[in-house]
Structure formats: structure tokens, C-alpha cells
């Protein structure tokens, strides 16, 4: 079961994980998750996420479908928040559920690596009166590329 959500509301972790645990005919034996949070360690006061409505959901669905096909998962969840948020708040949550642990762990890493390069989101950071768009990192491109082999 694939669950893709782009929302302005805070991410409800417990509901999302429980859903991933119990999705599918028999539920999962293993659930791996990744949560990305707004970091407080570099002076950012507000982080604003912009996205491309429609194209974002299509890109995330493609990433999720690729993971299900590759690892035979019982559930994939991707929840990405958009709009303004503050240090400590959750930006993104991904979960991969499977019968055994290796598939869920690998798929979870795949989901977040691909999401970073394949989904149309842009981050703007505000520090005091200074706003700046976050630059894309080569490391993200490298991380995504390792899954194409």
C-alpha cells in the first residue's frame, strides 16, 4: 500500500507508523522509518517549503512505486510538510514496511535518497531579517545515484 501526502499540518508520527505496520493483508514484520527535522544548530528561525502541486505527488508516487517493486514491500509511506515551519519540527517522514528487516531498511534509505533529488520541493531559510534559498548538495545527487546500479 502506497501512501503519499503533502500537507501543511504537522506530521502525525504515531498514526503514520501504525498505518505502515498494519497495512497489507497480514501486516509487517519490519518497519523502517526516517524523519527529517528542522535543525536548530545553524541559526535558522523559520524554514519554508515550497513545492510544485501535482508534480510533487507524481514524483513521490514514482519513488514509492519503485521501492515497492524493488523490495516487495507491504507498505510505503511518504509524508512531506510544506509551508513555514520551525526548528525541531518534522519536515518529512518516510516508512517502508516488509516481512524482513533488510528490505525495509534498504527501502527506507532509498526513499529518502531519491526524494531529495527527484521531488520538486525547495527550502527557504530565514535567519533574522535574512532569507535565503537552500542550495542543492552534490552529496544528495551522489546518494541518489548509488541506487541506480
Amino acid at each position: 500500500m502506497i501512501r503519499i501526502i503533502v500537507q501543511t499540518a504537522p506530521i502525525d508520527l504515531l498514526a503514520e507508523i501504525t498505518q505502515a505496520e498494519t497495512a497489507g493483508e497480514r501486516g509487517a514484520g519490519a518497519v523502517a522509518t526516517f524523519t527529517g527535522l528542522v535543525r536548530a544548530d545553524d541559526g535558522v528561525e523559520t524554514l519554508e517549503l515550497e513545492h510544485y502541486p501535482g508534480a510533487t505527488e507524481a514524483a513521490l508516487t514514482k519513488v514509492a512505486t519503485g521501492a515497492v517493486e524493488r523490495w516487495g514491500l507491504s507498505a510505503v509511506t511518504i509524508v512531506h510538510r510544506v509551508g513555514p515551519m520551525h526548528p525541531g519540527e518534522r519536515i518529512v517522514f518516510v516508512a517502508a514496511a516488509s516481512a524482513h528487516r533488510a528490505a525495509s531498511l534498504e527501502a527506507c534509505a532509498y526513499l529518502i535518497d531519491r526524494l531529495k533529488t527527484d521531488a520538486p520541493f525547495w527550502k527557504r531559510e530565514t535567519r533574522g531579517t535574512q532569507a535565503s534559498w537552500v542550495e542543492a548538495r552534490d552529496a544528495d545527487k551522489d546518494a541518489a545515484a548509488r541506487w541506480t546500479s
Binding site: Y52, A119, P120, F121, W122, D140
Partner: protein, 85 residues
């Protein structure tokens, strides 16, 4: 041919709008040529498209290379490299 342009992040900010409809001449056949042509339309467009290497594109909501032909496109998006997650 009329096409809807959509812009995101600093491309949108520099141009001053997130969406516009444009009508490029027949000589404009690829997204890269469309960018060059749009750069002439205002100082904002010129600033947004000053460094084409920093631009990414989507055609009808699917990511594509910047040299993709525009024939038949309904919506073309221009934006910086993505930074989600």
C-alpha cells in the same frame, strides 16, 4: 503555440510571478531556446535566467532535460535544483 509557464523558488521571486501564459515564435523549439527568448521579456526574467546551468525544467509536470523539445507542451516549469527532504 501558447504554453503556461510556472516558476518556483528564486526563479519565481526574480520574475515576480509564479505563472504566466506565453506565446513563443515558431523558431523557439526547445526549453533552452524558450529560456533564452523569455530572458528578453523583462529585467526579472533576465535575472532569473542569467545562469542557465542553475535551472531545471519540467514538461507537463515531469522532470526533463533543458534541451527537450517543447512541441505539444501545455505546461513548462522552470526552477532551481530541488532541495526537499
Amino acid at each position: 503555440m501558447t504554453v503556461t509557464m510556472v516558476y518556483f523558488a528564486w526563479v519565481r521571486e526574480r520574475i515576480g510571478t509564479g505563472e504566466e501564459r506565453v506565446d513563443p515564435p515558431a523558431s523557439v523549439t526547445t526549453i533552452a531556446e524558450l529560456v533564452d527568448w523569455l530572458a528578453l521579456s523583462s529585467p526579472g526574467h533576465a535575472a532569473a535566467f542569467a545562469d542557465p546551468a542553475r535551472l531545471r525544467a519540467a514538461l507537463d509536470q515531469a522532470f526533463v532535460p533543458i534541451d527537450t523539445p517543447i512541441a505539444g507542451a501545455r505546461e513548462i516549469a522552470l526552477f532551481p535544483p530541488v532541495t526537499g527532504g
